[in-house]
Amino acid sequence: MSASIDQISERFTRLLEHSSATPLATVPEPAPSPVAAAPAPNPTTPAPVQRVDHALKGFDLSVAVAPQQVVQAAELLDSEGFALDAITGVDWLAQGEMEIVYDFFHPTTSLHIVIRTRVPRAEPELPTISTVFPGANWHERETHDFFGIRFLGHPNLAPFLLPEDATFHPLLKDYKP
């Protein structure tokens, strides 16, 4: 028996309340123009746990957490029987931040849940979730390749898809080949 979307979003709300840390930035809506020089203020700070219409967006729940909460979030979804879908980054150059996006799907219900967090662009570090989902090992390694995001506690962040001597991160918005 698996939990409903209401129960899961309730668990996330509790998780975020009980943790003193607040998410660095909340939601994914990008600034109108990413080339704007000043860091964009958080637009009206939407709720960190958001129900989403699957037909409109392709996922059911979007949760914004602080970087140090990603392991707890992964453990929560693990206990609910979710499977790891993908991990990737988005470089928000104008805001000086990098977003890390975790997708999870459920093997028996239709739920697709997105966990997001943001780290400062100058210091892109956050804990690994490969201790909870061993499959995260490869996804995090790829994200390190493309964005230079360091997953602390990851067993091996050596170049993966890039050449073995690569020191560049091609998906950074200021990357010059």
């Binding site: 994914p28 809506e29 990008p30 600034a31 109108p32 123009s33 990413p34 699957h54 037909a55 409109l56 967006k57 392709g58 996922f59 029987g81 979710f82 499977a83 790891l84 879908d85 993908a86 990737t88 988005v90 470089d91 996006v101 997708d103 799907f105 093997p107 028996t108 219900t109 239709s110 697709h112 997105v114 989902f133 061993p134 499959g135 090992n137 490869w138 493309f146 170049p159 993966f160 898809l161 890039l162 050449p163 091609p170 998906l171």
Partner: protein, 379 residues
Amino acid sequence: MIAQPETISTGSSSRTPQETFVLNLGPQHPAAHGVLRVLMTMDGEWITKAEPIIGYIHRMHEKMGENRTWAKFLPNTSRIDYLSAMHYTHAYVGAVERAAKIEVPARAEYVRVITSELNRISSHLVWWGALLLDLGGFTPILYAFEDREKLLDLLEGLCGARLTYCYYRFGGLYNDVDDDFLNGTRKFVKEMRPRLKMYRALVTDNIILRKRMTGIGPISAEMCRKYGATGPVIRGAGVAYDVRKVEPYSVYPQFDFKIPTYPECDSMARYLVRMDEIEQSLRIIEQALDGLPAGPFMGKVPRVLKLPAGDYCYAVEAARGRFMVRIVSDGKDTPYRVKLRTPSFSNLSLYEEASRGMILPDALAMMGSLDLVIPDIDR
């Protein structure tokens, strides 16, 4: 270095430890089906660690996506998994249509289902032939390619490509289906059923194949979940996870079809899932041909496409499992970010854990049962 014969007679746990050696498989190796390299630490014939090393044909499709308009990225998506191009373009056009709220006419959705299922059959036929080639049976691939040739001819007639189809467009299709295609597809469905029966008698029930596959390469449902393995891998572990049913898209809910599952978790289970899927695809194609509505094959699409800011996902059931596109738009006519979540990447990521303690020929049989496409992993 070579283990003594008397010490390798039982399972690895009861043997005296041997000096290990490193065996390099690939990146140019026929069993790797492309440029995959596996660095194996061997204890005699037993694998103590098999580390896949990937990236030999990495093309950075995701960066290319940021450098061109939404429409110009479309041909890239058919070059990720070259055996499953219809599904991949489907996911990408689906994501863009979802974001831009483009209505797709029913006729176009039906034709998408027909062509996607034809593509699934042709992909499974390549897998089938190649797997048996890996196991030392040369003949089946000749049979498989004979059937596949008919499919490639049909799809070539529609869109000009035999492999990297770019047939779907935002809002519909590149062109309408003609009678040649419809009649040819009906003929193919009719001819394919007896062929499947023959494949079963010739190959599936063959004792040598059974002995190479049954009980070999166990991958449990829990392992699939932890690594995100999908497609025939998770269905061969008894879980009826299929995006067509679980997160229904296009007009799949209108068709009656089963999700084949086998609970044995071994290579044979994954084999049987795919063979059954070919039958189910034929059922879907028949129903879609019967119900194919008349009408336009293209919806209304703005000439200059700008997607509203935000991120959107679209998942499809490709031949190898769940393929998901995650697009991020900043309101411009080019993508801000395109993430391609490919099934082969996740399916291979469990290889190191699953192959531990296996003997080399079994590990290669298991690799064949994963149905890897290397450009799908490397992107």
